[in-house]
Assembly symmetry: C2
Homo-oligomer: 239 residues x 2
C-alpha cells in the first residue's frame, strides 16, 4: 500500500492516569481510513513540555501528516500551543485573527474575554487557524501538524474542518468474514490465502461469545474485486 | 513525583484502521495508577516488524517497565513474539514449558494441538512465561517488557498475573471537584492554586452538559491531607 501515512499525538495526563478513556484516536482512525490515509502510529504522552516537543518533532519528521489532540484550552495545564511553537522554532503570542474570533464569540454570549480565555488566542506566528464551529477557540496547523482540541465534540468538528484539505490515497475497502471456529483451527488455510494475496491485508480477530470461539477475518485492500475473490477463497477453505 | 515510570505498546492494525477500539490502555492505566506506577507514554503501532522492534527498543531503554498487548495468537499476523526476540537479540522456538501448558489445555478440551496452535508456544529463549488463566496460551516477560495478549479478557488476566511482581511507588490518590462554570472563568484562580502546590498534579477537564459548561478539576498526589487542603482552597476560590 502506498497511501500517505499519518500519525497522531494524544496529549493529556488524564488519559495516562486512566481517569479518561480516549475517544479521539478511534474517531480519527475511522475517518482517515475512509479517505485513504493510513494512520501508522499513535503516541499518548502527558502534560510534559519536553516529552511533547520531542514526540511531535519525531512524528513530524517521520510521517506526512500529524494530528494532535488535547491541551489547547485556557487553563494552566494547557501547554500544547507553546510546545508546538517550540518544536517548530516559531514565536508565539496572542494573535489578532484568533482574538477577533474569540471576541465575537464571547460578545455574542455576553461573556467577558478575560486573560484566561485570551490564552486560547496564543497561536504560533506562522500557523494557520483551524475552524472550531463548536466553541470558537481555534485549532491550528503548523508545518505538517494539525493541532486540535481534546474534548471529543470539538475534536470531531476540527477533524471535519481539516479533512477536505488532506490528500488521500485510494480509499481502503474492507470485508469481514466471520468463522465460528477457533483461530487455531483456521490459521493454516488462512495464512496460505494471505500469502497468495500480498496486495491485501488479511487480519484475524478472535472472539469468545456465549462460550463459543470464533474469529472475524477482515480483508482490506483498495480493489473490491480482489477482496471479493479472497472472501470466496475463505468460504471455500473454511466454510 | 518519583514513582517508577512505565510505557505501553499496543500492537495491531485493527486499532489503527479504526476497526477495533482499544480497551487495554485504559484498563492498564487504571491498574498502574492504583499501585503507584506512572504510565508515562503509550504507543500504538501496526503489524509491521521493523516498527514494532524499533518501538519496543526505544520504550524499553527509556522506561523502567514496558507492557505490550496484541499479536501473540496463532495466525500469520501474530508476529509479536518474533519481534521481541529480535529486539532483545534472543533466539526463538517452540519451548517445552509452553508446549506442555498448551498440550494439557487442548487435551482437556479434546482439541488437537496443531501446527497453528503450536505457534503460541514459540517463546524467546530467556523469557519468563506469564500465566494465562483464560485461554492457557502464555504471555512472557523478556528483559523489562511484559508481552501480553490483545483480547481484553486475556490481557486483563495477564495483567493480574504480572502486577504482584511490580514495585510500585506511593499510590496516587485523586479527588475531583466539579465546578459548573466554564474553564475560562476559573482558569485564573485555578492556575494560582496549582502554582502554590507544586507537589500535586491539578488538571482541569471541561465538559458541556445540557447546554451548560463546567469543569472537573482533578487533584492528584500521594498525600491525602495535602489533596484535601487543595480541594478546600478550590472551594474557597471557586465555590
Amino acid at each position: 500500500m502506498t497511501n500517505p501515512k499519518a500519525a497522531m499525538l494524544v496529549i493529556g495526563d488524564e488519559i495516562l492516569s486512566g481517569r479518561t478513556r480516549d475517544a479521539n484516536m478511534h474517531h480519527l482512525a475511522g475517518k482517515l481510513t475512509e479517505i485513504g490515509v493510513d494512520l501508522a502510529e499513535v503516541r499518548v504522552v502527558g502534560d510534559d513540555r519536553d516529552v511533547i516537543v520531542d514526540a511531535v518533532q519525531s512524528l513530524s519528521d517521520r510521517y506526512a501528516t500529524v494530528f494532535t489532540s488535547g491541551g489547547i484550552g485556557p487553563t494552566h495545564d494547557d501547554i500544547t500551543a507553546d510546545c508546538m511553537a517550540a518544536a517548530f522554532g516559531q514565536t508565539i503570542d496572542v494573535r489578532d485573527d484568533a482574538r477577533a474570533i474569540l471576541q465575537a464569540h464571547y460578545d455574542k454570549a455576553g461573556t467577558e474575554l478575560n486573560a484566561a480565555r485570551l490564552r486560547m488566542a496564543r497561536i504560533p506566528e506562522k500557523a494557520v487557524l483551524i475552524e472550531n464551529p463548536v466553541s470558537a477557540a481555534p485549532g491550528f496547523t503548523i508545518g505538517n501538524v494539525h493541532v486540535m482540541a481534546g474534548v471529543p465534540s470539538v475534536f470531531q468538528a476540527m477533524v471535519e474542518s481539516v479533512l477536505p484539505g488532506l490528500t488521500g490515497g485510494a480509499p481502503l475497502h474492507s470485508k469481514t468474514y466471520t468463522v465460528h471456529r477457533g483461530e487455531g483451527d483456521i490459521a493454516g488455510p488462512l495464512g496460505q490465502i494471505a500469502q497468495e494475496r500480498p496486495e491485501l491485508s488479511i487480519g484475524s480477530y478472535p472472539f469468545q461469545r456465549d462460550g463459543r470461539y470464533g474469529s472475524n477475518i477482515v480483508v482490506r485492500g483498495t480493489d473490491e474485486t480482489v477482496i471479493a475473490a479472497a472472501i470466496a477463497d475463505l468460504q471455500t477453505a473454511l466454510g
